[in-house]
Amino acid sequence: MLPATSEGNGVSGNEVLVRLANLGKDFDVSPPLLNRLLQHQDRVVLRAVDNLSIAIPRGKTFSLVGESGCGKSTVAKLAAGLYRPSRGSIVFDGIDMATLGTRAQTEAVRKRLQMIFQDPYASLNPRWRVSDIVAEPIRAHRLIAGKAAIARRVGELLEQVGLTGADGVRFPHEFSGGQRQRISIARALASQPEFLICDEPTSALDVSVQAQILNLMKNLQRQFALTYLFISHDLAVVYHISDYIGVMYLGRLVEWSDKRSLFDRPLHPYTRMLLDAIPDITMSGRQRTPVAGEVPNPIDPPTGCHFHPRCPYANDRCRTEVPTLMRNNASEVACHAVFEGRLPDAAATGRPAVPE
């Protein structure tokens, strides 16, 4: 039972490419200044991400799961540099992103990480030809000189994602959702990144197309030794694609582990509830117990452990004291009940029984 530290995080044997340490992000959701002055309203701060630490080994996939509003997409945007963290640091290959001073330094790191978004309709400029979309990172980072050389590289990228070079002259609207996501991936690969941040990349796609994109992403990972931070709410997709999985609840990481341990021996009561809510597609006849209650308002989260109002094992300590992430066998989990031995074994007792 080792306390989790910002350096530790238990991923051993592999070189860590990306480390998020004690990361926090606040959003100011205060009413307008005039209302605050006239109606004596206070500033309101939404703590979207709170003290989150993860380490992603090179060539592996780390997934963050959780329900809407848990802060998983905010983590993706922080990792991609689209948001500036309120607290904590992002270290990419030994370089602290906050210390990057000059434009040249920033660009040198930026081209090594890329992002794929959920909505392939919104993330491609409808007025650009596909070849220009895919060539944009090459031009922005001045990776290749000369029109012909760029065109050759674009053709190569399109073929890598299962399109043809001839598709370059077409516009995004001429493609289906799955093909558009392939274009997004080709664009992301254009700067030869090492780290891809994927925010729900298949959530907008039909299942048969989702399978194509997941297979493509796995192939590309093998081919180019890519490291993925994968954000999804779909636990089956996450199980398929990940090496490590972290579960988030109201801005906090409540448990993380390698995927098999997480699914075989979930510790945190919230993780257990989430796993139990997965529809039983194999029709094994398992009776599932639905999760009780709903995610509270993140502007006014519960005290202590955020999960305590929905947790069947909560006691006074859970209501007052924030649990810290600590090691327990293969996992790290933030739960008082786990370490006090108050939690029944998931394998022995089945899952917490909660009325509908």
Partner: protein, 336 residues
């Protein structure tokens, strides 16, 4: 769950065809679709976007948006045709006999009225009851769909409810007049997994208690597996397979059903590569001749490219596939 034999059909859809006239010609969005729903039965309708499943639901309840129109076929509800009755009679039937639940609960609720007012109005449209009685019934309904402190929340507005609670209100609205059939179009798609599980459990319990039939339209096979008695799989405007849920999900007969089921990742199942169906569903403007699935089908043969298959019985299911026609299949051995 189902004992289909001693039930009688509540809804019969026969050779339904829905068309959209456009400047470039007529698009056929639902093509020669026939199925039935028995009393107290949950029929799942699955398919990917553009398969025509929502349009089929809208056609049944008379809510096709122009220029979409029913071009052919019959819809028979409780022994009477309902596809050719006028607007006013259809309006009465809706809510009274057939109710609808949509994906987004916010669009089905009026933001300007309290939940209670919307419920009492619906109740009083269909049942002769005074204001106070209707209010009591409204609270009763909110209780039934699992909304805590219903007597207080009945006076709140939709924005004061969370997404899951709103969908419960929508279900309460649908149940207000004790309908015999509920058409639920992606009722859980906008919800988080934990809330989704709650809503599915609720729908199942209510239908069992009230003996209501449900047409459950969704793209989510997991929801179907947990809820439906029978499943119809749609592809490019047609039903390609229909049968008991166990058979369709575990032993899909049509190559599309089979491929679809195998392309879904399953937890605790370690596979390096998911089975994938190449390509994508055709657009309505260029549906292939013969079987619409033939360009993506690993088992297609010459006949599939020219002749359109109809549903034929295969075991406990029906499938529209030439593989099950002994006279046409090139080798009589290799079934799916």
């Amino acid at each position: 769950m189902s004992e289909a034999n001693n039930r009688k059909p509540l809804l019969r859809v026969e050779n339904l065809r829905v068309e959209f006239p456009t400047r470039r010609g007529t698009l056929v969005a639902v093509d020669d679709v026939s199925f039935h729903i028995d009393e107290g039965e949950v029929l799942g309708v699955v398919g990917e976007s553009g398969a025509g499943k929502s349009l089929t639901g809208a056609a049944i309840i008379g809510l096709l948006e122009p220029p979409g129109r029913i071009a052919d076929g019959r819809i028979v509800f409780d022994g009477k045709r309902i596809d050719d009755i006028g607007y006013e009679r259809m309006r009465r039937l809706r809510g009274d006999q057939i109710a609808m639940i949509f994906q987004d609960p916010l669009t089905s609720l009026n933001p300007l009225f309290t939940v209670g007012r919307q419920l009492t109005e619906t109740i009083r449209t269909h049942v002769r009851i005074d204001e106070r009685g209707a209010r009591e019934r409204a609270i009763e309904l909110l209780n039934e769909v699992g909304i805590p402190a219903a007597d207080r929340r009945v006076d709140q507005y939709p924005h004061q409810f969370s997404g899951g609670m709103r969908q419960r209100v929508v279900i309460a609205l649908a149940l207000a007049a004790n309908p015999r059939l509920i058409i639920a179009d992606e009722p859980t798609t906008a919800l988080d997994v934990s809330i989704q599980a709650q809503i599915i459990t609720l729908l199942k319990r209510l239908c069992r208690d009230h003996g209501t039939s449900v047409m459950l339209i969704t793209h989510d096979m997991g929801v179907i597996a947990e809820t439906a008695d029978r499943v119809a799989v749609m592809y490019a405007g047609r039903i390609v397979e229909v049968g008991p849920v166990q058979d369709v999900i575990r032993r899909g007969k049509h190559p599309y059903t089979h491929g679809l089921m195998n392309s879904i990742p399953v937890v605790r199942q370690d596979i390096e590569e998911l089975m994938q169906i190449e390509g994508a569903m055709p657009r309505l403007t260029d549906i292939p001749s013969g079987c619409a699935f033939n360009p993506r089908c690993p088992k297609a043969f010459a006949y599939c490219r020219t002749e359109r298959p109809d549903l034929v019985r295969v075991g406990a299911s029906e499938a529209a596939c030439w593989l099950y026609d002994d006279a046409r299949r090139p080798d009589a051995a290799g079934n799916v």
